[in-house]
Every structure is written in structure tokens, then in C-alpha cells.
């Protein structure tokens, strides 16, 4: 075997080599970039960064064990805060009061990188033990997407107000008003639930107690509904003095909105009244004999230059020549060729949808205006030539004209045409009124939604919680053991090469500290080894009970070491066990060799041989499985 001096020298060389290898591994706190082993935790360096998808609750690489590490996730711009907890169960992780959960470190928001630039958040995670289940709960505080919130508020207010159309007065009663608010809130919660399903986030909405969007107190004597569990996000009232009323500003805003909608109903009613009036006046006009004579005379003589000057085409008499059954359509501005597709003003909420009616009414009113003026003119002596050319004069040749129209009759026609025109002017005015209130209604809803959304951004906090479970599954660890042992019974020092079999996974990158949990798993291992040098044929022992005997190996000419040991620090291990060998009998006649053993004490280097060479050979930033062989 070897002398004690050579043993010490060899041990120093091994220690130096191992330390140098560790020094080269130092810049190891790099982001994980290599393809991970799915589902298998790794023995990575302290400070390793594990990519994570916060919104989906998914780790994109195995988590390391026994070392502190970071989780890093891309986040949207609207994320204002992130916090995290972990525990052995999601229930504990999600319960902020649970003592079985551990908070993660303060988040660090990293500046945007990449194209398009994306922000990221990084949280520190304490060392986790292998072969345990963990649940991480992350809470994300979002600045609400104001565009989406505004759309939701607009949609809900608009829809619920439409439901109330022509029954706006109902909301003057307190319970009905609260019911309306509940309906709007229910719609917002529906939308929030959709966002939850879309994003995977759990939303929490909180509002001040005097907000229009605070849930009204339940009606007196009404027990809360007992039904299926409502999975939509609750709108919680923030702490404060409980109030049954909403603030004055929002209430006045809402009253203006309601007044406006009722204004539309008034305008449409006014329109309908004026359409009826116009239809009736038009019917009266058609019944006037003088009117019929005028229209017939003008149409028959339309080719006459004088007539043509005032009535260029038959279209100028369109109101007079249309089917009397279509008078209501004419008076309401509906294109008589498209009556089937005419819209009902009561059901119109887009002011532009009334444009066509207004245009059509304008055309009819212009015809009426010209006809009224023509009838007025024909009642005067200066327009007698036109009257005569149109066949409306008192004589037709030398005979009395049976179609003659007197001045008084012309004036009566003009007066009735003016009645029709005024009715249609009022109908058109009512339509314009309806358009104006509809535009104002949209503006008021949009303004209310904007103000409310601004309030929501200031006062409503939307928290999203996501969980990610991880089973810290890792392979058991086997390391190379190189050291020296001393066995007093056989009075030998010798180097050996062996393997340490740990009872669980060990992360050799994790600093070994007595004060941290898991010492037994991290330090204790069974050892099997063989000496580097064989027993020489002259190996003689005199301390064995059999007297002078020769020793020989059990694996060829080498003995076998079986024992156990503890790591004292990251590298050095002490161990003890038995040296197994065979004993030659001093009697040359006896050739059978007896198996025997002697205890030993040893010191060794617990060498992560494969990890060291993997690190030396791997590109920067890459990792590979290092736990075990």
C-alpha cells in the first residue's frame, strides 16, 4: 500500500483540482435557456431564473431544489403589482391568513425588452425541498383596461336603459331604481366573468359604498336568493360608512341620461302625432275639388312653357299624385317604394338611421312649399296667363271652363297645403329632435362611462390570482468518492475510488449549511469503493487474531470498502465502514481463503464529477441534468 506522506500529497492534489473546478462554475446564475427535463426538478445553481407564464400559471422549466431561485414572467403593461405565496397546498397558498404558506420576495419589474417590447417581473423563491408538492399562488394587480371597461359600462347602461324605454318613470321609486342598478351590475359582472374565462384570471372588483356601481342593499324583508353558486366576480363594497344612496354627482348624471331617453320618447310621440296630423290634412287636401282640378290641369298642360317654368316635371307634383293609401308613409318620410323595410322610430337608437326619413320629408316639404306658392300666385291677376294656360281659367275657348278654379279656391288650396306643410315641418322637427336627443344620449352614456371608468381606474382594484402547482420530483443522487482510508486492524492507509449513494436528491450546487433543513438527506450517503492499489503479495498482518497471515482482495487483488459517511462541507466527507478482504492461511496446505473484514475510517472528496465536466464543456448559460449519474 502507500505511505502516509503520499496520502496527504494526493489528497491535496484532489482538493485543489476540485476547488479549481468549482471556481470555474461560479458564474452560474444564468437564466435557464436549455431545453428542460419536463416535470423533473433540477439541482441548479443558486439564483437561477426559471421562466414562468403568470397568466396561465405555468412554469416553463423545472424548478430547482435546495437553492434560492427566481421566477420570471412576462407581464402586460397594465400590471401594477405582483405578489406570490407558496405552500404545500393551493388552499394554503391562496389563503392570505394561512401560516402554512410562505411569501415570495418583493417583485422586481424589469424594463421592456424584445420586439415588441415586453415587460417582465421577477420574484425570488426560497430554497424548496425535493420530492414534495408545492402550490404557488400569484396575485396580479391590474390597472383595468379602460377601453374595455368603458365599452362594458356603455353597453350595460345602454341596454338596460333601452329595456326601460317609455317606462322611465318607474325609476323614480327607490326599489325600482335599485333593481335597475342591480341589473347594470349584473351585466358588468357577466362581462367580468367573460374576461376571467378569457384571461384565466380571477377578478375582484371593489367600489366605494356610494358609487352607482356599489351593490344596493337587499330590499327590506327579502332574504338573499338561495340558488346555484354564483361564480361571477363579486363587486365588493370597500370599507367605509355604509350608505344606501349613491353620490349626488352620479345621481344627477343619471337623471340627465334618463331625461334624455324620455326626451326621445317624447320626440317620437310628437313625430307620430304630426304624421297623423299631416296624413289627415293631406286627406283633406285631396278631397278639395279645386286641388284635384289644379293637379289635373297642371299635369295635362305640363308641356306648356309657362307651366313648365313652375312645374318642370311630374315629380314636382309627387305628393299630389301618389297613392292616397300611402299618405301616412309620405308624411312620415318613408320612401313609398320601400315601405316594407321602413324602420320604427321607437326602435331606432342610432340617430343616423333617421337621416333618410329627414331627407325624404325635406323633399316633400319642398314640393309642398312650391305648390303652396303656385296656388297663391294663381289667385292673383298677374298670374292669370299661367292659370289660363294650365286650363284653370274661367273659360275654355269660347265656353265656360268646367275645370275653372277661382281665386278664393286657389287661396283655400294654398291654405290647406300650408297646413300639410306645417304638419310635416313639425314631423321633421320632431325627427331632428329625436336625432338630437339620441346623439346627446350616446354622448351622455359615453361621458358617464368615461367618468365612471376613470373612477374605476382610481378606486377599483382588479386583482387576478393564478396558481401553479409543481411536484419537486428529482432523481436520487450518486457521487464519485475519492479519498483515503485508514484501517487500524490491518495497519493500512490507502487511496480508494468509490461511489456515494445518497438517500434522496442532492443539489451539489446548493451551499451546505448545518442550520438549513434536510441535512441528513444532503450529507449522509452509503459508500462502496475499492482501493486504487492492490494488496501486494507480501502484505502481511500480525494484528489479526490468526497471527501472521497474508491478505488478498475480494475483487481480483483489491479489497472492497463498504461503509457510510457524512459530508462535512461542500467537498469533504468523513466515513467509516468495513474493508472486506480474504485471508490466506499461513498453512501452505490450506489453500482456501477466508473472507474477513476490518473497520476503517476515511476522509474523501465527494466529487460531482459529471456535473463538473458538464459545466466545463457546456456553452454558457446552458444547463443539463446534474442530479445523479
Amino acid at each position: 500500500m502507500t505511505s502516509p506522506r503520499a496520502v496527504v500529497l494526493g489528497l491535496c492534489l484532489v482538493l485543489f483540482g476540485s476547488t479549481a473546478a468549482s471556481a470555474r462554475q461560479a458564474p452560474a446564475a444564468q437564466p435557464v435557456a436549455a431545453t428542460p427535463v419536463p416535470g423533473l426538478s433540477q439541482g441548479l445553481d443558486p439564483g437561477t431564473t426559471v421562466p414562468f407564464e403568470l397568466t396561465r400559471g405555468r412554469f416553463l422549466a423545472p424548478l430547482p431544489f435546495d437553492v434560492q431561485f427566481y421566477v420570471q414572467s412576462p407581464i402586460e403593461d397594465r400590471v401594477t403589482a405582483v405578489s406570490g405565496r407558496y405552500a404545500r397546498s393551493c388552499r394554503d397558498a391562496l389563503d392570505p391568513t394561512s401560516r402554512n404558506a410562505t411569501n415570495l420576495g418583493r417583485p422586481v419589474f424589469l424594463p421592456p425588452t424584445g420586439t415588441p417590447p415586453v415587460r417582465a417581473v421577477e420574484l425570488s423563491v426560497p430554497a424548496l425541498s425535493p420530492n414534495r408538492d408545492y402550490c404557488f399562488a400569484f396575485t396580479v394587480t391590474l390597472k383595468p383596461a379602460d377601453t374595455k371597461l368603458r365599452e362594458i359600462v356603455v353597453r350595460e347602461l345602454d341596454a338596460r336603459l333601452r329595456d326601460l324605454y317609455r317606462n322611465e318613470q318607474l325609476l323614480t321609486s327607490g326599489p325600482a331604481f335599485d333593481d335597475f342598478r342591480r341589473a347594470v351590475l349584473s351585466g358588468i359582472r357577466d362581462a367580468a366573468h367573460e374576461i376571467q374565462l378569457e384571461t384565466g384570471l380571477s377578478l375582484r372588483l371593489t367600489v366605494p359604498n356610494d358609487s352607482f356601481f356599489a351593490e344596493p342593499p337587499p330590499p327590506a324583508g327579502v332574504a338573499p336568493a338561495q340558488g346555484a353558486k354564483d361564480i361571477r366576480p363579486q363587486i365588493e363594497i370597500r370599507p367605509g360608512v355604509v350608505s344606501t344612496s349613491i353620490n349626488a354627482k352620479e345621481r344627477e348624471e343619471f337623471a340627465r341620461l334618463l331625461s334624455n331617453q324620455l326626451g326621445k320618447a317624447n320626440a317620437v310621440t310628437d313625430f307620430n302625432n304630426r304624421v297623423s296630423l299631416g296624413t289627415n290634412e293631406l286627406a283633406r287636401l285631396r278631397k278639395m275639388e279645386a286641388f284635384r282640378r289644379m293637379v289635373t290641369g297642371l299635369r295635362v298642360n305640363i308641356a306648356q312653357p309657362l307651366v313648365q317654368q313652375r312645374v318642370p316635371t311630374e315629380a314636382a307634383l309627387g305628393f299630389a299624385t301618389s297613392d292616397p293609401d300611402l299618405d301616412a308613409a309620405l308624411a312620415s318620410g318613408v320612401d313609398v317604394t320601400q315601405i316594407a323595410t321602413a324602420n320604427n322610430p321607437d326602435r331606432i337608437w342610432d340617430p343616423a338611421d333617421l337621416d333618410e326619413r329627414v331627407t325624404n320629408l325635406d323633399g316633400t316639404i319642398a314640393q309642398l312649399e312650391r305648390f303652396r306658392q303656385l296656388a297663391t300666385d294663381l289667385s292673383t291677376p298677374s298670374w292669370e296667363p299661367l292659370r289660363d294656360v294650365a286650363g284653370l281659367g274661367p273659360r275654355a275657348g269660347n265656353q265656360p271652363n268646367p275645370s275653372a278654379v277661382t281665386a278664393a279656391e286657389f287661396l283655400a288650396v294654398a291654405q290647406q297645403v300650408e297646413r300639410v306643410r306645417q304638419a310635416l315641418l313639425e314631423a321633421k322637427g320632431a325627427l331632428l329632435n329625436a336625432q338630437r336627443v339620441l346623439t346627446a344620449r350616446s354622448d351622455l352614456i359615453a361621458a358617464a362611462a368615461s367618468r365612471i371608468t376613470a373612477d374605476i381606474i382610481d378606486v377599483i382594484q382588479i386583482d387576478g390570482t393564478t396558481t401553479a402547482a409543481w411536484e419537486m420530483r428529482a432523481r436520487s443522487y450518486v457521487s464519485v468518492d475519492v479519498g483515503v482510508v485508514w484501517s487500524q486492524p490491518i495497519e493500512s492507509f490507502f487511496f480508494y475510488l468509490g461511489a456515494n449513494f445518497y438517500l434522496g436528491p442532492v443539489n451539489k450546487k446548493a451551499p451546505l449549511r448545518w442550520r438549513e433543513p434536510g441535512n441528513f438527506r444532503k450529507r449522509f450517503a452509503f459508500t462502496a469503493g475499492i482501493p486504487i492499489n492492490s494488496f501486494s503479495d507480501t502484505q502481511m498482518q500480525t494484528t489479526l487474531t490468526a497471527g501472521d497471515v497474508a491478505l488478498t482482495g475480494v475483487l481480483g487483488d483489491r479489497p472492497l470498502l463498504l461503509g457510510a459517511g457524512l459530508r462535512l462541507n461542500d467537498l469533504v466527507r468523513v466515513g467509516s465502514g468495513a474493508v472486506l478482504f480474504r485471508v490466506k492461511s499461513p498453512n501452505p496446505l490450506i489453500t482456501r481463503q477466508e473472507l474477513d473484514f476490518a473497520w476503517y475510517l476515511g476522509i474523501s472528496i465527494d466529487w460531482d464529477l459529471r456535473g463538473m465536466f458538464a459545466q466545463l464543456g457546456a456553452p454558457s448559460g446552458s444547463v443539463g441534468p446534474r442530479a445523479g449519474f
Binding site: 321609486s173 315641418l425 329632435n433
Partner: protein, 134 residues
Amino acid sequence: MGLLVDAVLTFAPGTIAKAGDNTVVATFERRSTGASTAEKTAYSIAPGQPYVFANASEPDDPKVVQAPTQQVTLNPSDRRQTLVLRRTKSPTVTTMVLVNADVTEVDGQGNPVLDGGGQPLPPHRSSGFIVVQG
């Protein structure tokens, strides 16, 4: 002849106290469709609401204020009327009060304008809600 009336009635102030007499000024805009004309407006509190006008025109009808005739021209102008609202006893919880203004076109003598069939023209309506303090 011919009247155009804004269908929305506005109030200043927009909020009244729950109790006592509350004075508000109701305003709406109106104009004629051409020649000058005139209108008379009746303000009323919608049925079922626990409020009356302290300045009602007729003691027997405390929910109506009949405003005098006013000339109307082609130029848009505001019709303003002071209304004094008073709450009546009622167990009803009221959030708002609905007030209507029915605007009738009248002739020089203050009589309603008639249509070609001799019937009065239907009035134009303008409406608005006054908030009751919570």
C-alpha cells in the same frame, strides 16, 4: 303656425331636498317653424309621485302649473318657469321626480290652434327628472 319644442326639460338646480319647499327653474327651448306664433305651457308632476307644486295655478289641481302665453318666433329661445315642489306624505321611497311640460300652440287670443278638421293640435311634450337627495 308650427311649433318645435325641445323634448327634454332641464332643471336648475338638478337636485331637491327630501322635505320642505324646493324651488327649481324648469327650462326648455322652443321655436316656430316659420311665422311667429304663441304657446301656453302646462307643467305637471307625473301621477303617483308624492310631490305637488306649492305654486300650483289651481288649488284644486296642485300637480299643475299653468304658465301664461308666450310669443314664439323662428329664433330658438328658452322657456323658463319657476316651480316650487313640495313633498306630500307617502311611504314611497322616491329617488327622482318626473315633471312634464305640455306645450300647446295657441292663437292671438290664447285659444288652441285648430287643425283643418277643427280639432285642437296635440300638444308637444317636454320631460325631465329632478333628483331627490338621498
